[in-house]
């Protein structure tokens, strides 16, 4: 059986990549019987949700975005290699 310190470490360092079945089952089994680790893991999930809620709907101001896109276009056009008429 995994210890609480091990389970919290696995839960908190989860990158989204599926861990090996054995480890996954170990964590699930532990969470089923340990309310503290369940609370911890729920809190981390909710923190992720909250930060996503905080910034996920960030929209860019269309004028600001248009200015950036125009600056990029201008730089790209300036950076073009000289056309045939510019060459000797």
């Amino acid at each position: 059986m995994l210890q609480c310190s091990e389970v919290t470490k696995l839960v908190a360092s989860d990158t989204g990549r599926k861990p090996p079945l054995r480890r996954r089952l170990g964590v699930l089994l532990h969470l089923a019987v340990c309310r503290h680790c369940r609370a911890y893991s729920r809190q981390l999930r909710r923190i992720g949700d909250a930060v996503r809620g905080l910034y996920g709907r960030t929209t860019v101001d269309p004028d600001g975005a248009a200015r950036v896109v125009a600056a990029v276009r201008e730089a790209a056009e300036r950076g073009q290699p000289p056309g045939p008429t510019d060459r000797d």
Binding site: Y40, V51, R52, A71, A76
Partner: protein, 200 residues
């Protein structure tokens, strides 16, 4: 897994600095770039500046674009460096991250909880919770914060986040661990225990 590669025609257009192709890259990515810069702790004006600088670096180096990573991955890699420069320039000195010790102190020598997470209901409105979350994000050092934002807000794949931050999957796990625990400890200290249905 979502393909991280661009179609060859687009790679070629970017490499020869075709203005329309570069404009497309800017248009496709501006929202994500500004959002990530904001979530990483830059003020709105700074976030636009950082996004623009990022795209201009991309234009400058477009001829080196080899398509092995997508334009987005490349852009985020540049943005991440811009964010780091700004946060180092403007933000307070970041103290040594002692979150590992803070977490360790919660367990006894056999790995059992010594001080379990608090779960009593917090009397906070959704708005108050969001304010506390924003405050606590400020306490997360820059690298773990970037890792957390790319993974949880942008929801990029592990592979892509590792490429952007130039770290191994193991390192990414450590950064996420530090960000999540820092946030959890900070919120708990502010009385946000995530037990209610609406709260964190």
């Amino acid at each position: 897994m979502i393909a991280l590669r661009e179609p060859q025609a687009r790679i070629d257009a970017i490499r020869r600095r075709d203005p329309a192709a570069l404009e497309d890259v800017a248009r496709d990515n501006i929202t994500r770039l500004v959002r990530t810069a904001r979530a990483s702790g830059l003020a709105t004006e700074d976030a636009y500046d950082a996004a623009q600088e990022t795209l201009l670096v991309f234009v400058q180096k477009a001829d080196q674009f080899d398509g092995r990573a997508s334009a987005r991955t490349w852009l985020f890699g540049i943005l991440y460096k811009k964010i780091a420069e700004r946060r180092r320039a403007f933000a307070r000195e970041e103290t040594l991250d002692d979150i590992d010790a803070v977490v360790a102190a919660r367990f006894d020598t056999t790995g059992q909880w010594l001080r379990p997470p608090q779960t009593a209901d917090a009397a906070a409105t959704a708005g108050e919770v969001m304010t506390r979350v924003e405050e606590c994000l400020e306490e997360v050092p820059e690298r773990p914060r970037s890792a957390f934002v790319l993974r949880e807000v942008e929801q990029l794949s592990t592979d892509e986040v590792c490429k952007i931050l130039d770290v191994s999957a193991n390192n990414l796990g450590v950064m996420l661990y530090r960000a999540r625990n820092r946030l959890r400890e900070c919120l708990e200290a502010k009385g946000i225990h995530g037990s209610g249905d609406a709260a964190v």
